[in-house]
Symmetry: C2
Subunit: 114 residues, 2 copies
DNA sequence: TCCATGTGACAGTTTTTTCTTACACATGGA
DNA sequence: TCCATGTGTAAGAAAAAACTGTCACATGGA
């Protein structure tokens, strides 16, 4: 279901996003229930700017999405929630993904359009 | 049935190891067939010391293993091959893995032995 | 008005990764 | 002996990631 196998580049982004203890915790928290930045920062125990950066990285990788909502008392709150991704990593899956890597392939030329 | 689900720390290591285009290529190559360092370096087109570092990272993550063998003409060759891992990444899997993270959990104290 | 709470963004430091450029040792064959 | 091939390691530059501190703006309620 779902997930068209991501391109190599996309895969690298997702893996890089997940390959960090703090972000893994963030994902765990958000998997349980959506939350907004300040609240999440308190709960996890990190500064808001730092959390913000990590959320951004996760969002760029497509693992979470944020929506700006207006609370009852008029405050703007940015809620984040996890998307439903489903990565399967095995040797063959990696071999497949590697084919679509665009970044510097020393074995070939510069990543010309070819 | 292989893989006991890795600990959070172990998972982070594996993800970090895979989250790099060059290492992804290395995995792809080794998945096709085992190879020794110098040969692989030529094939991929990177310097040997650089490749060495990447191989080391992959090995530490348990994704590949290297064995030092003696070729017919007496040269010592270090052959690497992929282990058979099989990671399944989903929101719930991450939630589970996050529980066993030891690294700095700002929400708790310093990672005391408890 | 001031305070508590939410948002966003910037500059600057520290730490980690990535990559380069050496150097050292060993073996078989010309 | 010298060269080509294999191994290992260390020092240092360059680039990217992680983290801190601070400022600005907005709103509702005391």
């Amino acid at each position: 279901m779902v997930a068209a196998p991501p391109t190599g580049d996309q895969l690298v982004m997702m893996l890089a996003a997940l390959a960090n203890p703090l972000r893994l915790r963030i994902m765990a928290k958000l998997a349980v229930r959506r939350d907004y930045v300040s609240s999440l920062a308190r709960e996890i125990g990190v500064s808001r700017p730092l959390l913000r950066m990590h959320l951004q990285r996760l969002e760029e990788a497509g693992l979470i999405v944020g929506t700006l909502e207006l609370s009852d008392d008029g405050k703007a709150m940015k809620y984040f929630e996890v998307t439903d991704f489903d990565l399967h990593l095995s040797a063959s899956a990696l071999t497949e993904a590697a084919k679509s890597l665009t970044s510097s392939d020393p074995a070939k030329g510069s990543p010309r359009k070819e």
